[in-house]
Point group: C2
Chain length 588, copies 2
């Protein structure tokens, strides 16, 4: 196929769009691939549509290879199934909700677990019909609080979502592995380096999930990896729990005056100066127990105070806290909150005071007190005594205080030991490019999706859910493949296979270009031909660079000598070749 | 490609779906093509998706042939542009409206005139870049009051909508003709007989529009056609206006007692018995002026009474009235309405009474009085005198009464003269399969879409809009191609090229079927192979008939003699052929 620029809907822009925060957004708009319609909502122009379809084709082929069947669900769905699974509420403001003319509640689906589960429930009744994997490539909606970064996080976006249905756990494992393998093939074909990391299942629920992250310093996700092969999103990190310590023989707790020590560092300094460790070593921040007050806002708007106790050398990681307390939102505690609990003294909060337990199981404050997994029985801490300028030394967990539970909110540090014993981890950043979930029976249970097993017994189906954001992937590829001149597409997703530019006004040049175009077409190339008669070579070259088709042929002055130039967009290299050989050279 | 039923997501149903009102809906659900998700909202299963994609491919190819470029707009759009053109209000309850988390008004687009116009405005500035035709195939939303008839009138539906942009009227004519020609090719390829009829532009606005109707007695649209080539949807019918008649010499109006004549027929009978025509002919209903009270509810909810005067042999056609008074809705006048206007006497309403003008320009009732185009100056009528049991005879239009305007709401009758003089028309019914509009400058004007012309002068662009409902077309094809056993697809849109059925348990039969399948695949056929090992021949044949793939090959008992059967789904004919020849015979 040959497409001529003189008959193509394309307009490149000289100026960067004012609202573009990231490179992919800036270049995709400037090069005429997309146009913004509203925050996080874009129209696709012919070039963009072509790249999108190439990505979709690769995804479709690998879904077919994975034995998944394509279907297509509506974006507009009724409330009821999402009400039953709880997601109508759990999605909070992120869900686009509307009413139809009869007043029925509807939504624009953020994903389709419910609809797919109901479809299988409607049609299937026997284990013999399983396993089943079905998928769609379809436009989804999420009302992001900060739709930004162009297509990287849109409010309307195209997604491939697949769902697997099995009646045994082993079946789910197998279906999950098949999709996971397909994802590896997809990202390899797309030229996207990836790491598979343990992930938090988040609002999806379920028992196991992994994220495909493209490692890049500008990624929005932080993950850890050990040399021994452990990899996890920090949200999914599980702290290695140290062994507990015998309580017997530990000295009793002592309260000391510690004036002007509202911070961990001032406290550690004072402790080392005035109350040195018996073993002669220095106190460190890790010997202190920091107590952080959080306010949680539940979906129904009610607020609850929670205090988290963690070693003083750690901070609360807000993203991990969001996961730990989801779907509640985390807000700062207010002065009014403290006023209600005079037993808690700001800067000197601890689980204990001279008057007895202030926090934890034995207290009467009613505030949940959750402890970091490192605060195991027998560990001894310097912590606040709930009196201005006073701390308690040698307060022993399990003897002097007990929490109401354990919580994973402390930040993960370079060098922390991987929970699987595979050594210390390093921190890295990445962009999410895919996510696979073992949902288990959560959705099937809620929606009554059961089949008869070999023994004629009704069993609840177990599901997997597997997502790739098509439009997000496109933006990520653009984000990773560009230079200061414009885009540089990998061949697998380029909007055209080759770009032919005729420069100048010399008829012979245009004839040579036509020859090359015909040869390329005969070789099965999909060619974009810049045949504009009155545009300067500079503008043409600029457009060629901006558009980013990787293989370019220039017909220019060299035509007089029987030559055209092959221009490699990525390397910038230009190679003169005889006109008749151009197509063959590009093909090889 | 070969798809095996043992590895395909398909479940045919034995029972008709309870909510299916039309054949296409019933069969598409039973045969596993679609599943209903909510009123007027459907999911597409693998078979349905294949048919849909085949239709889309044909449409795409013809759009490309017509020089139109494919783009893709979001379904979710901001309110503002639709506010500017007035469609935010005009669409009434038919528009799905919602608010995002920031409270901004958004909509699910019913069509995209505004968005396309703004795109061209953003990117183009010169006449040199025109003409331009761009299109998309995209899911649209209309909150139909009575979503019924399955895919024929859905609330979420797939549409091909194209838009043309020109800067001269002649340019628009040419762009319109190119799309119109493409539509003819599309419907021919889809095997859909069509008539192109003059249509009402409706809520789209604009100067000219035509509908492609598939003529069928069960169609929901009524249209007229003359032997001389005139064809129009009744909503677009324009009554031929008779010449006016001199007022001079016409006798004065006279009021007669006409007791018990609340209907036209009783009035005509009494008139002929008691007040015969001077020329000796009989009075007919066409000599009477019937006055019909309508109540219009505007978009803002306000109500207005309107009285329509039309010849007594005509009725108000509600569909024509809806067009005439759009976007207002038509409701029945209430007793309270009459109570407010004691000058109007039910059953005896007319524009005049003994007390003077009751309706029309000279009246004081404030009620708009609109006249049928046949009520020209000098025509003389028998009509109500606004007194119980009294009518006025010889009331002359333009002398005794004057309307406030002309309105086209009278029904169109078999035998009415075509307005272009091409003879009497016949009435026929059809289903809308496509609609083309010359929008003119309405949208461009509202949205400020201008380009510089040859003289450097800013001129407003003129637009066309061209729509085909993909999912509706699919339903119509299903509606027209079926029998009591199931669907019968035309080859151009069948989900597979051929269906191969292996019956019985004989290994030789399955081997023969595999041979045929391989041959068909080698011939480029996309084959669905019923390789289910334990399903009875009766069930297999039933499914084959229900699914409706037109070319079927049966491998059964004949295999022992080296034969398979070619089964033509449409004719039902079965032809034994040697196994080795089956593929070649199907190909030819």
């Amino acid at each position: 196929m040959v497409t001529r620029l003189t008959n193509f809907f394309l307009k490149t822009l000289r100026e960067d769009p004012a609202d573009a925060e990231v490179t992919s957004h800036r270049l995709l708009v400037r090069a005429g691939y997309i146009r913004r319609q509203a925050p996080g909502i874009f129209a696709w122009l012919p070039l963009g549509l072509r790249v999108k379809e190439k990505i979709e084709r690769i995804v479709r082929e690998e879904m077919t290879n994975a034995g998944a069947h394509e279907v297509h669900f509506p974006a507009l769905l009724p409330r009821e199934p999402y009400e039953i699974t709880g997601r109508w509420d759990e999605y909070g403001d992120g869900l686009f909700r509307l009413k139809d003319r009869k007043g029925s509640d509807m939504l624009l689906a953020p994903t389709h677990e419910e609809a797919f589960a109901l479809l299988v429930k409607d049609l299937y009744s026997s284990y013999k019909e399983l396993p089943l994997s079905i998928y769609q490539i379809q436009d989804k909606y999420r009302d992001e609080a900060r739709p930004r970064a162009g297509l990287l996080r849109g409010r309307e976006f195209t997604m491939k979502d697949a769902y697997s249905f099995d009646y045994t756990d082993a079946g789910l494992d197998a279906s999950y592995q098949i999709q996971r393998d397909a994802y590896e093939r997809i990202f390899t074909r797309l030229g996207l380096e990836y790491e598979i990391v343990k992930a938090d299942a988040g609002a999806m629920g379920g028992s196991k999930s992994e994220e495909f992250l493209h490692p890049t310093p500008v990624g929005e996700d932080t993950f850890v990896r050990s040399a021994g092969g452990y990899a996890a999103n920090v949200e999914a990190w599980e702290t290695e729990v140290p062994p507990s310590i015998p309580l017997e023989g530990q000295p009793a707790a002592v309260v000391h005056d510690t004036p002007n020590t509202p911070t961990i560092q001032t406290l550690v300094d004072l402790a080392n100066a005035q109350h040195p460790r018996e073993d002669g070593a220095a106190w460190t921040a890790a010997d202190t127990l920091k107590n952080v007050v959080l306010s949680l806002r539940a979906l129904d708007g009610t607020r609850e105070l929670v205090i988290v106790g963690l070693p003083g050398d750690r901070d609360v990681d807000l993203k991990r806290a969001e996961v730990a307390f989801a779907p509640a939102e985390i807000e700062a505690a207010t002065e009014a909150d403290f006023a209600k609990h005079p037993g808690l003294v700001k800067g000197y909060i601890g689980p204990w005071s001279d008057n007895g337990a202030v926090l934890g199981e034995k207290s009467a404050t009613g505030i949940r007190y959750l402890l970091d997994p490192r605060v195991v029985e027998g560990t001894s801490w310097i912590t606040g005594a709930n009196a201005d300028g006073r701390h308690v030394f040698g307060l022993v967990a399990g003897r002097d205080f007990v929490g109401d539970g354990v919580v994973e909110v402390a930040d993960v540090r370079e060098g922390d030991p991987a929970p699987d014993g595979s050594g210390p981890v390093e921190l890295a950043r990445g962009m999410e490019i895919g996510h696979v979930f073992q949902l288990g029976r959560k959705y099937a249970e809620a929606l009554g999706l059961k089949v008869l097993d070999e023994n004629g017994k009704l069993v609840t189906v177990t599901m997997g859910s597997y997502g790739i954001g098509i439009t997000r992937i496109l933006a990520i590829i653009a984000e990773l493949n560009n230079d200061d001149k414009g885009l540089i597409w990998p061949e697998s997703v380029a909007p055209f296979d080759a770009y032919v530019v005729a420069t100048g006004r010399d008829a012979a040049v245009f004839e040579a270009a036509e020859t090359v175009v015909s040869q390329l077409e005969a070789s099965g190339f999909d060619v974009l031909f810049d045949d504009r008669p009155k545009v300067s070579p500079g503008v043409k070259f600029g457009d060629a660079e901006l558009l980013g088709i990787p293989k370019i042929v220039i017909a220019g002055r060299g035509v007089a000598d029987g030559l055209v130039e092959l221009w490699d967009r990525r390397t910038g290299e230009r190679t003169p070749v005889p006109i008749a050989e151009a197509a063959a050279r590009l093909r090889d």
